[in-house]
């Protein structure tokens, strides 16, 4: 892999940019790999990357039915934060957030991590109390957050309306090192680094079945034939239930649509991320100037990557009330992704009933921010066969045993 640098730009400028190489090889499947990862989203690619980087396991294939990063990783609103309530969540999200701080250097790929600060508005007394509790929990967890006054909110976000008629702003949970990153670049950066370690990224190839012998995984049937493996990692987000079914087990997961939209680009007007969970809307401004907007999920099982229009209407209604100046903005694009929701709104990073087969799913509406931490934990689980401290509590049996990691109570919407 040729490294990207200021020197490389100067060198290429002098020779008409003919020397750039492809970021990753387009690989065809070999007969057998030590590890196969199904799903080349951020989580699958990061899992593969840390298998190579932290454990020296590089005979790895990442199999993707579409194009890499074309699932939720390329469809999300890129919010990064780690101000969660429960200890296991704070640990893995903060691990991820801290890895994001140096990810561009680590991958030699600009993921445009922008720790611009993130606010979660408290708009009911119940919510205010909840966020105060989270701030206290975060203090114990070593996650830097603070609870700020409405006046401070107004300072940070001049375009906000702090005394709206329905839900005036009572305060906010503020994480100064939360922010955003470029979603595609995260997938591309990991893919390039995986490819450079000799891993095969096999796109346009769908996994159709999981084969096993005597209770142990032996490989996968794909649209390009059978590919053998020693260990299998299923990292397919919205399609987790389908691939788990191929491996012979059922998950506590429902697939629903989550939508997002962006406005026409405007001059810089808001340099923090603002989430308003009571009214179900959140917004940030991209580097291109578009306002990036999202809200809550649709309420029924759906695999079409299309959501219902009334959810967009609700989200915009909430945001126009919070930021009156956006009422005249035109919306440019709207899209949906299929998110995998678990019963306690926390992810699953787990061994499975099938030996040698591991699953990483359930990131639902909020897994972009977790990509580096999740990959780190998944690689450890797959390499050692047992979870490390980051993944230990996120096993799939916690539901049966009543060990929920209940984040649904902590925030109305996740993201």
């Amino acid at each position: 892999m040729r490294r990207y640098s200021a020197f490389a730009i100067a060198r290429e400028a002098l020779r008409n940019h003919l020397g750039w190489e492809k970021a990753w090889r387009d690989a065809q499947p070999k007969k057998h790999y030590d590890v196969i990862i199904v799903g080349a989203g951020g989580h699958g690619l990061a899992s593969a990357y840390y298998l190579g980087k932290n454990f020296g396991i590089t005979n790895v294939a990442i199999i993707e039915k579409g194009w890499l990063g074309g699932g939720n990783t390329g469809r999300n609103t890129t919010i990064i934060r780690s101000n969660y309530l429960q200890d296991p969540s704070a640990a893995i999200y903060e691990k991820a957030r801290s890895l994001y701080e140096t990810l561009s250097q680590d991958l030699n790929y600009n993921v445009m991590f922008s720790p611009r600060g993130l606010l979660m508005l408290a708009q009911t007394h119940h919510e205010a109390r909840g966020y105060l509790r989270t701030v206290h929990a975060n203090m114990l967890q070593g996650v830097a957050t603070e609870y700020i006054t409405p006046e401070r909110v107004k300072e940070l976000v001049p375009i906000i309306n702090i005394d709206g008629p329905r839900y005036p702003i009572l305060g906010a949970l503020y994480q100064a090192r939360g922010g955003t990153a470029r979603h595609d670049a995260v997938a591309w950066g990991y893919a390039r680094a995986c490819s450079a370690m000799g891993m095969d990224i096999i796109q346009q190839t769908e996994v159709k079945g999981v084969r096993s012998e005597a209770g142990r995984v032996t490989g996968v049937d794909t649209t390009k034939g059978f590919i053998g493996c020693g260990k299998l990692g299923i990292v397919v987000a919205g399609h987790s239930g389908q691939v788990a079914d191929m491996a012979g087990f059922r998950l506590p997961v429902e697939a629903v649509a989550l939508q997002a939209l962006v406005s026409e680009p405007i001059k810089p007007c808001m340099d923090v991320v603002v989430m308003a969970n009571t009214v179900h809307g959140y917004m940030s401004q991209s580097d291109k100037g578009e306002m990036v907007i999202g809200g809550g999920t649709d309420g029924f099982n759906n695999f079409t990557q299309r959501g219902s229009f009334h959810h967009i209407e609700e989200t915009l209604r909430a945001l126009v009330e919070t930021f009156p100046m956006i009422s005249r903005l035109k919306m440019l694009r709207q899209w949906g992704g299929i998110v995998d929701m678990t019963g306690d709104r926390s992810p699953i990073i787990s061994k499975t009933p099938l030996a040698g087969c591991f699953i990483n799913c359930g990131w639902g509406t909020g897994g972009f921010k977790a990509i580096p931490g999740s990959g780190w934990a998944m690689a450890e689980l797959m390499a050692k066969g047992e979870p490390g401290p980051l993944a230990a509590e996120f096993d799939m049996w916690r539901f049966k045993e009543g060990r929920f990691i209940d984040e649904s109570v902590a925030a109305g919407v996740a993201h």
Binding site: H239, G241, Q242, R250, L251, P252, V253, E254, A255, G299, F300, N301, N302, F303, T304, R306, S308, F309, H310, G343, F399, K400, E401
Partner: protein
């Protein structure tokens, strides 16, 4: 927008008039059941990509729960029926079979 006909009051309701209730025909388990059975009842979900049976409530209408047969891969609705049944009725099965000949009831 999803529209479903309420089998009680006959109103063709838009999604905004309804409240979703997810998977239908769950087998309930009570005292004396195993952890496994409770887990399956409370958490394990079919979540199929294709034909699905769901609970819906006519929340801003008659207020009653009813059931719907729907395709999660295309958003096609096969039909709705009252909730007081243990399994989808024959006419609903026939409607699904007419549209999805390869489908088999789990």
């Amino acid at each position: 927008m999803l529209t479903l006909e309420c089998p009680y009051c006959g109103v063709t309701a838009e999604e905004t008039e309804l409240a979703p209730g997810y998977e239908a025909h769950l087998k309930r388990f009570g005292p004396g059941s195993t952890d496994e059975q409770f887990n399956d009842y409370m958490f394990a979900r079919k979540n199929p990509k294709g034909v699905h049976f769901e609970r819906w409530r006519h929340a801003y209408g008659c207020g009653k729960w009813f059931l719907a047969a729907r395709c999660t891969a295309t958003l096609e609705v096969f039909g709705t029926y009252p909730a007081q049944v243990g399994a989808p009725p024959e006419d609903i099965i026939a409607k699904i079979k007419a549209r999805r000949p390869e489908w088999v009831m789990e």
